[in-house]
Amino acid sequence: MFELIKSLTQTYGPSGNEKKVAEKIKNLLKGKVDETRTDAMGNLICVKKGSGKKIMFAAHMDEIGIIVTYIDENGFLRFGNVGGLPQLIIMGQRVRFENGTVGVIWYEENIDNMKNATLEKMYIDIGASSREEAEKMVKVGDMGIFVGETVLQNGKIISKALDDRLGCAILVETALRNVETDNEIYYVFTTQEEVGLRGAKTAAFGIVPDMALALDVCDTGDTPNCKPMSVKMGKGPTVKIKDRSVISHPEVKDRLIRAAEKANIPYQLEVSLYGGTDAGSIHITAGGIPSGGISIPTRFIHDASEMADMNDVENAVRLLCEFIKG
């Protein structure tokens, strides 16, 4: 499982550029599902056929990053955000472009208060000494991702892009375990979640499932002096009750709780005050699709070093398998 997560988290895939991640997942599931297709937004949809209920699981392939908007005559890059970037933690981070070019984010040094250090006042240095030299390495419109190694320590995984390659890994692993069921299962790897839950919309429209779950990460309330939140890392995957995008459908939520209790899987109830997931766009697609979610409690979301507990990941896979059997 760790190797799977490592391989997925280290693959390049900012929003709108998820092809490499999709390719990797497609290969992992080759021969393990009955049908694989890609829609116009790049969503990868893997189907395990069945005659029962149509159940859709969504995990997003895209990660946050930056987009180059301008290259100045000295070869410095100006950039905008792809997804939600907390400006204070990106300073000094490394970014990597699809072709491997690495850059460092820094800021114009005449800023007196770091609160005023908006993205407009930052730049990326790729070590180029002129516009011409820079343009050989990077073009306007290219996207970069944050650099962050994947490490396993004390049963915790530390890496960039756990949001949401963890969800992808959980879906891949669940599909590979191939639980016996009549239900038709759609393993959907979505695109452009970080910029507005976009891919899930078209994927769900093409499936119109009876119910859907989003597999994603959620914040925790277990770090020094953090905002109060009942969810703790390592205490089990969450059954989503509410986030900024959705209040889970009561039947979907109850089905998840039943599944967890039946198989004795630890779980926590999640009410997230911030953030949304694909469930938010799936449940208003077409005539409405009852939706809910499972999240992995994750610290430092959207940083280049996110942290989660491997036990939560394993238990999420077990919970999904149980949910499938219904």
């Binding site: 905002k227 209040i247 005539g287």
Partner: protein, 343 residues
């Protein structure tokens, strides 16, 4: 058949927190059954009543009013038994200090949101609003007992007794938008007396307060060729812009603006004039913040009329409406439906 004021009181007493309307969908369905040919509850707990028309080729008119209400959601249970919470829908933290509530746990529990006595508030804090994350609900139980009865995600509603006031006005919780639901029933009552050709779907919708969610599924599933939305608009108050608020008792507010069908809106204004039904014009330059925004872009697009009941003190536990305005809203919509010209 219940008189409109009594109906409003009853509707105000129902709890249907946004996202968990399954608490009340049967009750609403029960109110519709008296007047409809068919009533069903869909997968999202939208309550859909159908009153068939007598025309040979009836068109479908969709009339929606949301029945969800704002409330609170339990986010944590402390070892001392106090409950932490967050808003479900747009709750103003200033309006919930020292408030009685009902916690919908394994059973309904009485609770109270406390407030610090003025003696203990340090002077530097006295001018500040209290944040929701600093408030707790006190259900009078210790942690162990509380956890047996309450779990994270349980909903909390405001607890209040509807008040009948001067000039046929009523104040209570959830009148945004139970007065809309009452207007739906007024429409059904009125249609019983009238001859109407078109099929009328009256729908009490869910999750409006979370972003028009019930409206999206309703207008996608029911292929209507006209939609009428009934919701609340702001009643007039000192200190508020006079072109965005409307006096109570002066009739239904008919919205005019870019997302609304100019043609149908003109017709209904004309009808209100000729039938002497009191009305006011509600200019809406944006997307109105109502279900009209969902219906107008549903599928290939549905022409929409927006009627609003002026409501004071919106999103508090003492929302106030005039019963006469609710009756006027129902009457106007029903007459428009019955007299609707063939295109």
């Amino acid at each position: 058949m219940m008189e409109c004021g009594e109906l409003l009181k009853e509707l105000s007493g129902i709890s249907a927190i946004t996202g968990r309307e399954n608490m009340a969908s049967e009750k609403i369905a029960g109110l519709f059954r008296e007047y409809c040919d068919d009533v069903r509850i869909d997968a999202f707990y939208n309550v859909i009543g159908l009153k068939k028309g007598c025309g040979k080729n009836p068109r479908s008119i969709l009339v929606t009013a949301h029945y969800d209400e704002i409330g609170l959601i339990v986010t944590g249970i402390e070892d001392t038994g106090f409950l932490r919470f967050d808003a479900a829908g747009g709750v103003d933290p200033k309006a919930i200090g020292a408030m009685e509530v009902t916690v919908h746990g394994k059973k309904d529990l009485f609770g109270v949101i406390g407030a610090k006595p003025p003696h203990l508030i340090p002077p530097e804090d006295s001018g500040k609003a209290v944040k929701m994350e600093d408030m707790r609900i006190d259900i009078g139980l210790d942690g162990e007992e509380a956890r047996k009865l309450v779990s994270i995600g349980d909903m909390v509603s405001f607890r209040t007794v509807p008040q009948k006031l001067l000039n046929n006005r009523i104040a209570g919780k959830s009148l945004d938008n139970r007065s809309g639901v009452a207007a739906l029933i007024e429409i059904l009552k009125e249609l019983k007396k009238l001859h109407h050709e078109d099929d009328v779907y009256v729908v009490a919708t869910v999750q409006e307060e979370l972003g028009l969610i019930g409206a999206f599924s309703t207008s996608y599933n029911i292929k209507a060729d006209l939609a009428i939305v009934i919701d609340a608009c702001h009643g007039d108050m000192p200190d508020c812009p006079s072109d965005e608020t409307f006096p109570l008792g002066k009739g239904v507010a008919i919205a005019v603006g870019p997302i609304l069908s100019r043609k149908h809106t003109k017709e209904i204004i004309k009808l209100a004039k000729s039938e002497n039904i009191p009305y006011q014009i509600d200019p809406e330059a944006g997307d109105t913040g109502t279900e009209a925004a969902a219906h107008s872009v549903a599928r290939e697009g549905i022409p929409v009329i927006l009627l609003s009941v002026p409501t004071k003190y919106m999103h508090t536990a003492v929302e106030m409406v005039s019963v006469d305005d609710v009756v006027a809203t129902g009457k106007l919509a029903a007459r428009y439906i019955a007299g609707r010209a063939k295109d």
